[in-house]
Structures are given as structure tokens and as C-alpha cells.
């Protein structure tokens, strides 16, 4: 499985035709197909291309919603990652 640094991840911000990837718990998810991630933004507060592990603790939903999206890689250097 592909390994991403934070710098790699930042390129997949969902803007200018780029896919929208986000990291959570050391895994990298492709959320490009989600209506809720149009333009690489989610509910005004969150941007694609970033590690949202800490942010999800404050979100009004759990990690179960991420299960709907394909995992495209692992985040290097994440506390919970590889």
C-alpha cells in the first residue's frame, strides 16, 4: 500500500482537479466522490490534504463514516500509523 508523508498528502487537496484525500488514524482515505467533500472542503471547517485524526474527536460523527471511503495508503509518521 502506498505510503504518504504529510507533504505528499497535502497535494491531494481536492482543488484544481486533484483528488481529495484525508488521513485518519494513520490511514489515508479517498473522499473525492463524497458530496460532503466538494472542492476539498468539509462542512466549512476541514480541508482535504490534511491529517484529521485530532479533528475527528471534535466532530459530530465517529470514524465509522470513513468506512464508506476507499483506503488509498498509509500516513508515515502518524502516531497511529505505520
Amino acid at each position: 500500500m502506498r505510503r504518504f508523508t504529510l507533504e505528499d498528502l497535502a497535494r491531494y487537496d481536492g482543488k484544481d482537479g486533484q483528488p481529495a484525500y484525508i488521513a485518519y488514524g494513520g490511514r489515508v482515505y479517498d473522499v473525492s466522490e463524497s458530496f460532503l467533500w466538494q472542492g476539498g472542503r468539509h462542512q466549512v471547517l476541514h480541508d482535504a490534504g490534511t491529517d484529521l485524526t485530532a479533528a475527528l474527536d471534535q466532530a459530530p460523527h465517529g470514524e465509522d463514516l470513513l468506512e464508506r471511503f476507499p483506503i488509498v495508503g498509509l500516513l508515515i509518521g502518524s502516531e497511529e500509523g505505520p
Binding site: 458530496f35 460532503l36 466538494q38 462542512q43 466549512v44 471547517l45 466532530a59 459530530p60
Partner: protein, 183 residues
């Protein structure tokens, strides 16, 4: 815009532009849901569907009420609705509650309905969290809407076999929580 209204919210530490974007996106979700629920309700027919039609109708009317209740707060805070209805649809805080491929599949219709309500519950929880103790009027409004969205979710989830919610159908008028915000 209500100048002092906005100032006090800003001074309390709320990013008003961010809040406005959320309010507008949720207003879009309410109005588009009202539209999509109209189509879902029309298709709730037959022995299974008729039993759900009444609550779908109550949720539909209440979602329209939520839109109506949100609009004054958006303008008070200095925001505005997009001039383009198509753009408004596309910035919705929730995905379109589209008719499933097989409109005779009542369970599939229920899943669309419950997912829409769950999205709304998450959205208003976020606004409540953002405004609690800081923007009393938006908090009060978002909480009132949240009460009704939670009831909607409960109604539909019961029909999906997720267990009893303890809620009853509306008896009498719609929007018992949001009514005070309707002008």
C-alpha cells in the same frame, strides 16, 4: 445586517463568516430536502409506503420551516442567500435525498430519509457546539431545529427496525420547537 448583533457574536470568539457559511449550507440542505422529500412522499404508496407517508410529510413541512427560520438569522449576521438557486442547491450541507433507483423499495426510501436526518442532526450539533455560550440566538435556533431533526431520525429509524425511539407522531401543528422562530 444587525450591526451590534454581529459584533457581540464576534467579540464572544465566534468566526462569524464561518458560522454564516454553515448556516447558509444548512439552509440549502433544508430547502433542497423539502423538495426531495416531496418526491419521496409521492412515492410512499401501497401497504408499506402509506404507513410512512404521514411522518415523511411532517418532516417535509418541518424542513421547510427550518429554512424559513434560518433565513432571518443569516441576514441579521450580515450574510445572504446566493442569488442562483442552482448554486444554492450545490452548496447544501447534506447530499441530495434523491429517490432510490427502485422507487417501490420502501426500505430504500427509508434509508434515504434516515440518512438525510442524520446528516442534519450532525450539522446542527456542530452549530450548537460552535455557538454554545457565545451566540445565544443562533444556539437557541440551532437547538430548536436539532430537537426536530432528532425526532425525524427517530421516526424513520423505527421503521428500519432499529428499535423503539419513544417518540410519537405529531399531534396537531408541526414544528413544536421551531415555531417561535417563524415570522
Amino acid at each position: 445586517m444587525a450591526k451590534v448583533t454581529r459584533e457581540v457574536v464576534e467579540r464572544a470568539g465566534v468566526d462569524v463568516d464561518q458560522l454564516l457559511e454553515l448556516l447558509i449550507k444548512n439552509a440549502a440542505a433544508e430547502l433542497t430536502t423539502y423538495y426531495y422529500y416531496t418526491i419521496l412522499r409521492v412515492n410512499l404508496i401501497g401497504l408499506e409506503g402509506e404507513g410512512i407517508k404521514e411522518i415523511a410529510e411532517a418532516a417535509r413541512i418541518e424542513d421547510r420551516n427550518h429554512f424559513e427560520a434560518l433565513v432571518p438569522r443569516i441576514y441579521e449576521l450580515g450574510g445572504s442567500l446566493p442569488a442562483d438557486m442552482k448554486a444554492f442547491h450545490d452548496i447544501s450541507a447534506c447530499p441530495p435525498a434523491s429517490l432510490p433507483e427502485d422507487p417501490t423499495d420502501v426500505k430504500a426510501l427509508l434509508k434515504v430519509l434516515v440518512e438525510a436526518e442524520r446528516c442534519a442532526v450532525r450539522g446542527y450539533t456542530q452549530i450548537c457546539n460552535m455557538t454554545f455560550g457565545k451566540d445565544h440566538r443562533t444556539y437557541d435556533l440551532a437547538l430548536a431545529i436539532l430537537h426536530e431533526e432528532i425526532q425525524h431520525e427517530s421516526w424513520f429509524s423505527e421503521f428500519l427496525g432499529e428499535g423503539p425511539s419513544g417518540h410519537f407522531l405529531r399531534r396537531g401543528e408541526t414544528s413544536p420547537f421551531v415555531r417561535k422562530f417563524l415570522e
